[in-house]
Amino acid sequence: MDKMLLIFRHEFLHTIKRTGFIILTFALPVLALLAIGISHIASGLIKPPAEVTKIGYVDEAGGFEEFTSPGNMTLVRFDTREAATRALIKKDINEYFVIPLDYISAGIINRYTVQKEVTPPSATATAIKNFLSSNLLAWKVPATTVARIEAPLNLVTTTLTATGNVATEQGGLGNLVVPGVFGLLLALALVFSSTYVLQGLGEEKENRLMEILLSSVSTRQLITGKVLGIGAAGLVQVVVWVVSIPFLLNLASSSIGGFISTIQIPANFLVLGVTYFILGYLLFAVLSAGVAAISATVREGQGLASIFTLFAIAPFWFFSLLLVFPNSPIWVVFSIFPFSAPVLVMLRLGMTGVPAWQLAASIAVLVLSIVGGLLLAAKLLRTYILMYGKRPKLVEIIRNLRRG
């Protein structure tokens, strides 16, 4: 068997047998299951009470007498504030509000409650608002107009293509779910897989195995076999996560309901997802190999590697900004920047249409970076992998690289 394949097989089997790998692979679906379970329990706990809520009111302005049963609430009229306060203290009502004499001109409603709150409950506020508007408009406009004023729009957006036809992908939060989840998994897989490469090479360096290996294989065979073997293990991890997603979404649908039905997978997503996973992994892995070469210990290497692995998860830090301005020039730049491109492009695909030129530029830069990274890593490995116990200074590394 080719020596590169032997290293590939050894690294693949060695990685998937690691306790850390096994725990991580199954921990994510288990954690998701736990989160769904907790969500079910929480949604059961915070369901609105079934019994009717009694809200008192004092009509000092006059004319607010009808529409006193909105939803599961009952509005009870009191003649004076004192009578309403007594009823509140006796717990005959849950709260009360006063419509003052100058309400029409000032628009102020005074609400009284014994509960400590951050903001008034939205259900209560809506009930009071609808009670007021219904009474103000009663007999002046038709009932359907009153209903429309209370719920003036249900915004339905349709995305058209450049030719004016209805687009296949209609956007929305549902469209963001799969790219978002995949982006997150991609970021995790990139970080963990490149960590395995770093640990693998670092341990071989620490255990003084490198020289024995290099007496049998070339640096190129060693890096290629290792990177592909560990990458395949990383792919297995991602497959386990992706396969568990439909099952988890199915379970989750009972708590987040109809939202699941809005999930769409962009047509080009799967192809691009696989492409970016492979390219992103290769880039991070070859750079990890280079970092392992110049690091004295695995721990030190992990510290150095965090400089570029941070870029993989950085798009999530700016997720809210990304959601609002998905086509901002800054995101375009970072979609082409090789360290952030794999995850950022995945996220943007769910939010907006990423132009073909940006995808092409991003993939081209990634491929070039991988080639450059591989040459750099091979050079660093040849130069520094047999240097034990100390890390070379940056100036020294640059000088040696310049010498070729």
């Binding site: 032997l6 290293i7 255990n207 020289e211 024995i212 007496s215 049998s216």
Partner: protein
């Protein structure tokens, strides 16, 4: 065809020559000692021979050709800085590293059992490397080095850290390699090991060759023209002896340049003393090492 031919190799780091115009050859069926003080350039020379690092100039031929992936399978290398996968068992370590030398699993298992048995390590084959003592780990590394029946074996400080029993065991195995026609390069600081095992030596200092050739010839070259004598009786003045040095249990007679040891022996017999030991003084390799390295030091 020599097993190794090194021609004028040079390697510098930060403008300092670590190996400087070094040339030598190693024949098949010989044990070749590569010796020198710390930092002399031995390990760098070996790494260039193994194509782990490239020489700045000069070339190396192994078994008649430039080192290639295929010819790497004919080499066994035990580096000074060595280790194994701590979480793997001894047998799995041997199988993986031997497979990288082109052996199939069945052949490895068969040969591994033979070597493990020969070294008394068979009961430990299923243990993880981290569970073995340092010496045991070193024997596993030695097995990994020779299991694929290499034509050339390079051993960098192979006996360091081993107990006397295991040292003798490995010495016998190294001598066996020579007896089977293999070329062995032995790099060590232990001059007694070199005297015991090596046919020829190369001593390097500051990256340059300072001694190269057959061991007896080198010792002869550094001979001090004196004889060692253990005797009973009274030793009078002997013509041809310029100085008499008394050591514990024997005396060293320094001869003038014209008198041979044979002539001195005849003259001693004629004095009537009882001679228990008469030996032409030959300097040990350690003494030659100290003399040469001391002269070149700094």
């Amino acid at each position: 065809m020599p097993a190794v031919e090194v021609n004028h190799i040079v390697k510098s780091y930060a403008d300092k020559a670590v190996v400087n115009d070094l040339s030598f050859s190693v024949a098949q069926g010989e044990i070749f000692g590569l010796i020198g003080p710390n930092g002399a350039g031995k390990t760098t020379t070996i790494r260039m021979m193994m194509d782990i690092i490239k020489p700045d100039s000069g070339d190396v031929t192994i078994l008649g050709e430039k080192l290639s992936e295929a010819s790497k399978n004919k080499l066994g290398y035990l580096p000074e800085e060595r280790g194994l996968y701590r979480k793997l068992t001894a047998i799995d370590s041997i199988i993986y590293l031997a497979s990288l030398k082109g052996m199939d699993r069945h052949s490895v298992e068969e040969k591994a059992d033979e070597l493990l048995n020969q070294t008394g390590m068979l009961p430990h084959k299923g243990k993880k490397i981290e569970e073995l003592s340092r010496g045991m780990g070193q024997i596993i590394q030695f097995i990994v080095t020779i299991i694929h029946n290499p034509e050339l074996v390079i051993l960098d400080e192979p006996f360091a850290g081993l107990d006397p029993v295991n040292t003798e065991l490995l010495k016998r195995m190294v001598a066996d390699l020579r007896n089977h026609g293999k070329a062995v390069i032995l790099s060590t600081h232990q001059m007694n090991e070199v005297e015991e095992l090596c046919d020829r030596i190369l001593m390097i200092n500051h990256g340059r060759s300072v001694l190269y050739g057959k061991l007896p010839e080198i010792q002869s070259k550094y001979r001090s023209n004196s004889v060692l004598l253990e005797f009973e009786g009274k030793l009078e003045e002997v013509p041809g002896v310029t100085e008499k040095r008394t050591h514990k249990g024997y005396v060293e007679l320094v001869l003038d340049g014209k008198t041979t040891p044979q002539q001195i022996l005849e003259r001693l017999v004629s004095t009537g003393i009882t001679i228990n030991r008469f030996e032409v003084a030959t300097p040990s390799l350690n003494e030659i090492f100290l003399k040469v390295v001391g002269k070149n030091h700094g």
